[in-house]
Symmetry: C2
Subunit: 145 residues, 2 copies
């Protein structure tokens, strides 16, 4: 099967998740593309910062807004390894991003359990690199026990 551009981009998010894993953070990573260019990367830093708001998506959004000096990101596509939580979905809604791609569903904390919390303009796609992302998460929590 041919590797799609979205799988290649999700691989970049996955690499960020691996960095989180190495730093003993819940391994979730995110990247952003604008005009087909990679413009930002982030990974979960909740443990390092001891800050429950320091999810990969939140750090990614804030860094993009600082860089572009804009509180909206209407042309940005975001790739994140795991379905965003309610907090991150709320932030993505304010940002009005163009596209959200996430790797795997989050069975407990995923925003979709609470309805569509995203902006009506945001297109959503899921199911990328599911095996790799699931294994990374499973490994992480297995080692925690």
């Amino acid at each position: 099967m041919e590797t799609t551009i979205h799988e290649i981009r999700m691989k970049e998010a996955y690499k960020m998740a691996c960095l989180a894993y190495e730093k003993n953070e819940v391994p979730i990573g995110a990247v952003a593309y604008l005009n087909n260019q990679l413009v930002a990367k982030a990974y979960n830093q909740v443990e390092m910062l001891q800050d429950c708001t320091a999810h990969a998506e939140m750090i990614l959004i804030s860094s993009l807004m600082e860089r572009f000096q804009s509180k909206y990101l209407p042309n940005v596509s975001i790739y994140v390894t795991v379905e965003p939580c309610v907090m991150c979905a709320g932030a993505l809604k304010w940002a009005q991003i163009a596209e959200l791609y996430y790797g795997i569903k989050e069975p407990k904390y995923g925003y979709s359990h609470f309805g569509n919390l995203l902006h009506p303009k945001t297109k959503v796609y899921s199911g990328f690199l599911e095996g790799d992302i699931q294994n990374l998460i499973k490994d992480f929590f297995k080692n925690k026990r």
Copy 2:
């Protein structure tokens, strides 16, 4: 009618909302109490930072977590002038705060339109200083038009 302790505390949040107003930000303020002591204050800084995540509650939570080096705030009571949005409710859930007091309902963006997004342990109270808070918001948007 006697002024309650919650009205006194909400007045502190209202003062922060007034600071936001002066800086041409949507006038929303928040404060936090721990063991009956005021431990943090914040106001909306979305315009100044050009960052859609810079809501009063988010800034408040991050500053509390940095101060106490804890990613949970189970004994903290938060007072915010306006009902939190979905993003902020999600953050308050992760933080597991003890109590949320908000002044007025948010008719469009309030989290409660999407169900109870807060932590089951968090107690919620609303309806404080409603006249003052409503007037401040109305004034702000009147001047914007």
